[in-house]
């Protein structure tokens, strides 16, 4: 099969089994969104897929080959990973950071990404002087600029204002349309509804469900997932119904 196949993967934290026997597929030209409350192992899952942590429990296959069969460097060439990281201030500028991620990329597509994220204006600024939102956009941009078949995003819209959140979602869609396999952890169900083809639900007690977005983003499922009543909104999507809880 042509894509990322997760077959029986497990995530354990100490004694607790967070994810047990996860099975799902992410095909090229699709966006798969991973949803779940805090602490259920979403970031850990993504890091396993990125090769930053050893895969536990089962197997992950890319284009039919198990991840174990790939050399570390080869897999790093196939995957772009964006996550929240801290690094010491050595005076890197935005331009240098992007260069490190993706080499010197010019061309319409690269410019398009940088424009969409409003990063083009920040190129000469040192990373240490950026706000958290600006930093986030640079990180997302860095991941998207890398010409890899797989794109893994860990809460790409965190710290961003609404306009940039929308831009980020648009870019995710465009990246998928260009043929990439896009897997993203999102916190916001409405955003998931806007961009996902497939959805993975992680309940945190070992259970998981995966399937088409329309099926997964049902009120009962999401209410069970988040432990909160949900209500549908116009135009599709689900919102937590705080009024029924207060």
């Amino acid at each position: 099969m042509n894509g990322l196949a997760i077959d029986g993967l497990a995530v354990q934290r100490g004694e607790k089994l967070l994810i047990g026997d996860l099975r799902c597929e992410a095909t090229p030209a699709s966006v798969t969104v991973i949803l779940g409350p805090n602490g259920v192992g979403k970031s850990t899952l993504l890091q396993m897929l990125a090769g930053l942590l050893p895969v536990a429990g089962g197997q992950v296959r890319w284009q039919g080959r198990s991840l174990d069969a790939y050399a570390r460097r080869d897999w790093a060439e196939a995957v772009s990973w964006q996550g929240a990281v801290e690094y010491a201030d050595f005076g890197l500028t935005v331009a240098e950071r992007l260069h490190l991620a993706a080499g010197i990329r010019t061309g319409l597509e690269a410019d398009g990404i940088l424009q969409a994220l409003d990063v083009a204006a920040l190129m000469a600024r040192p990373l240490a002087q950026l706000s958290s939102g600006e930093r986030q956009r640079v990180e997302v941009g860095a991941a998207m600029l890398r010409p890899t078949p797989v794109l893994l995003l860990d809460e790409p819209t965190a710290h961003l204002d609404l306009r940039h959140q929308a831009a980020c979602l648009r870019l995710m869609r465009r990246q998928a349309d260009a043929g990439r396999v896009v897997l993203a952890v999102l916190h916001d169900v409405v955003q998931a509804a806007a961009v996902a083809d497939r959805v993975v639900l992680l309940y945190g007690d070992g259970r998981s469900e995966a399937g088409p977005a329309s099926a997964m983003l049902a009120p009962e499922r999401l209410a069970a997932l988040y432990g909160m009543p949900m209500r549908a909104i116009e135009g599709g999507g689900m919102l937590p119904d705080f009024r029924r809880t207060v």
Partner: protein, 317 residues
């Protein structure tokens, strides 16, 4: 924090030219000015070619080695305050030198040989903790440095007074008595710079932090070990040659980053040149300011280095 003052290639070329000029001026400087092409008499020629030039080249190589080692330690430990002695190699080298001076008080080679042995032991001990990762390795190194300082203090109490003066003199830095030839030291510097250039892409990625570097395919653990051993070896060579000279390894990488940025393909050669130049200036001052007496060069690097470092600190935005 850093304002780029120039395009890297121009800045590096400028630095190279400046350094060459500095080397020439320093070699000619002294109690009297000697022009190597018209020395005046055989003694002046001998002084220039056999005393001053080797000394200037030694200072350049030692300064370069310390600066490059400092840059490697800073990126490896993810800490801009790291410097070559931070993991205790200077303390173990000094302990080795003092122990050797106590056991072989009449030998002039005892201290450098002891320094090398001590440095190697210090590196081996730190290497045991290499797998801890940057933050904890740093902590382990600081604690080890304190340990070696205690060992050194213990050894110093056992030394007779005359040898004590020599021990302190060695620890404060002495370029003139280097047991290693300038050729050897320059070769070591060249190897270090080439290795740094070869690793420059990986080092740059390491600037993004360990996780990001791994995500980009850098074999971080192997790289850490290589950097640790390589930088420690550079430090050991520098300390064996000239004693424990401070501040060059800490301040010079920052100065160069200010000038041409943190990308290692510019930073490594820049640090080698700037570190070498700084130590040549310090050593020349050490032997001319109170002539015919000499100051220990380590004193001057501290006196020059501290104001520069504080200036940088204050201007950090």
């Amino acid at each position: 924090m850093y304002m780029r003052l120039a395009r890297p290639a121009f800045a590096l070329t400028g630095l190279l030219v400046l350094t060459l000029v500095l080397l020439a001026v320093a070699a000619s400087s002294g109690a009297d000015w000697i022009n190597p092409w018209h020395p005046g008499d055989a003694t002046s020629a001998a002084i220039y070619w056999q005393l001053r030039l080797p000394r200037v080249l030694t200072a350049f190589a030692v300064g370069g080695l310390l600066a490059v080692a400092g840059a490697w330690f800073q990126v490896m430990l993810q800490n801009p305050l790291a410097e070559p002695y931070i993991l205790g190699v200077a303390g173990s080298a000094a302990s080795g030198a003092v122990a050797a001076a106590a056991v072989f008080p009449a030998s002039a080679w005892a201290m450098p040989a002891g320094a090398f042995a001590g440095a190697s032991l210090g590196i081996a001990v730190v290497g045991l903790f290499a797998s801890l990762g940057p933050a904890r390795l740093l902590l382990a190194g600081v604690v080890l440095a304190a340990f070696w300082a205690a060992v050194l203090a213990l050894l110093l109490t056992l030394l007779p007074a005359r040898a004590l003066g020599r021990a302190f003199g060695w620890m404060l830095g002495d370029i003139a008595s280097s047991p290693l030839s300038p050729t050897l030291l320059l070769a070591a510097l060249a190897v270090s710079v080439l290795a740094g250039l070869w690793l420059s892409v990986s080092l740059d990625r390491l600037l993004l932090g360990e996780i990001q570097a791994r995500a980009l395919g850098v074999p971080v653990r192997r790289l850490h070990l290589g950097l640790l051993l390589g930088a420690s070896a550079m430090t050991a060579v520098a300390v064996t040659a000239a004693g424990t000279i401070g501040f060059v390894g800490l301040v010079v990488p920052h100065l160069v980053r200010m000038l041409i940025g943190p990308m290692h393909r510019w930073l490594i050669p820049g640090a080698a040149l700037a570190g070498g130049a700084l130590l040549v200036v310090a050593d020349t001052a050490a032997r001319t300011v109170v002539a015919p007496a000499e100051l220990p060069v380590g004193v001057l690097t501290a006196l020059l280095g501290v104001p520069v470092f504080l200036f940088l600190l204050v201007h950090r935005r």
